[in-house]
Symmetry: C2
Subunit: 211 residues, 2 copies
């Protein structure tokens, strides 16, 4: 039996390293980036019938299989100030695309929220290691996905907890927002790193922890 | 007759965007980066007989043909403090690999230095546009290469002067040094951007100015 992994999938950044833009709000989940970090997904078979089944699709399809829980940051779950809105239930409508327990890391925990389709949001004010332990327990032997945003991924990388990471580098320069790579000097020493450029212009960079 | 271009070739950055490391000195031209940004060149046919003739070599070989002059920053020509050393003649020995006039942008101009092999160093305290005009005049109808470092390339990009740029993204995280991409939001709007990942792990990103 293999140990369950902590995996990052489809985490998109600009060429200058921003995982989200500036000015996040209820209407602009990625701030001034809009949908520009994620357009490469919209042309895949995973997103729409008749889409491409090429390398972008091969990567994007890895998002769900084998995953038993997700961990995400408060900045992914809601725009700044969501904790003052008791009705906020995340940015994905009544049936979020997770279909597993989701652990939201926040300094403003609230009671768990059960959504349609198998997604339950739990709220934790915990260290990366403690959050991972809780998510592993809920995942029932399957892997845990680390969903972002950039600050949370950076913290889990710095704590040495990430086993596999797929980053999609989009050929745009956002200029401002939240950067993924800050403070991670030498990260490549612990991983096999591969880069695969796609006809869409996106370069898929994978970090696989050395055995 | 086509207008001569301003071209950047083989400018290597880390995945986190640093074009040079921290702590540059006479013994460490790229600071703590050492030779890690440039190892991908050492295995090409261009560097050594019997090297690879693949995509890394195809890009690296574009460095010289058609070039009549180079512009470089003071930080490429010498480590911090070179201007206090009247004997400093650059980091490349008596026969530098340029073989054309080279214009060094500096606030500490000195008389021109003629080296072996056709390289002459000229020193200019000038704006990017004025430096380009001087280099174009010296290039005799051929293209001008913008040699770096990151600060100078950023300034010429911001001034809209660069026609073609080849950046080699190396899969390491330097964590500190001088970043290439700062303050260039939206640069991709003026260029066709392509990415090509190589078996070496390097991703070649090219910016070609829209016609």
């Amino acid at each position: 039996m293999t140990t369950p992994l902590l995996r990052v999938h489809n985490f998109a950044i600009s060429l200058d390293g921003y995982g989200t833009g500036e000015g996040q709000s209820a209407d602009a989940h990625f701030g001034h980036a809009g949908d520009r970090l994620h357009r490469w997904m919209f042309t895949t078979r995973w997103w729409q019938a008749g889409g491409s089944g090429g390398v972008d699709d091969a990567f994007v399809q890895r998002h769900d299989p084998g995953i038993g829980a997700e961990i995400m940051g408060a900045g992914k779950w809601g725009h700044p100030g969501w904790h003052e809105d008791p009705e906020w239930k995340g940015a994905w409508g009544p049936n979020p695309p997770f279909h597993t327990p989701v652990f939201v890391l926040t300094h403003h925990p609230r009671p768990s929220i059960e959504m349609e389709g198998g997604t339950t949001f739990h709220f934790l004010d915990a260290s990366p290691a403690d959050a991972l332990e809780a998510a592993r327990e809920a995942a029932g032997g399957r892997d845990v996905r680390l969903g972002g945003g950039p600050t949370v991924i950076r913290e889990f990388l710095a704590a040495g907890l990430v086993d596999h990471m797929h980053v999609a580098v989009v050929p745009i320069l956002l200029g401002r927002g939240v950067r993924l790579w800050d403070g991670l000097e030498g990260l490549e020493e612990d991983y096999r790193v591969e880069a695969t450029s796609a006809p869409s212009g996106v370069t898929h960079v994978t970090f696989t922890r050395k055995g």
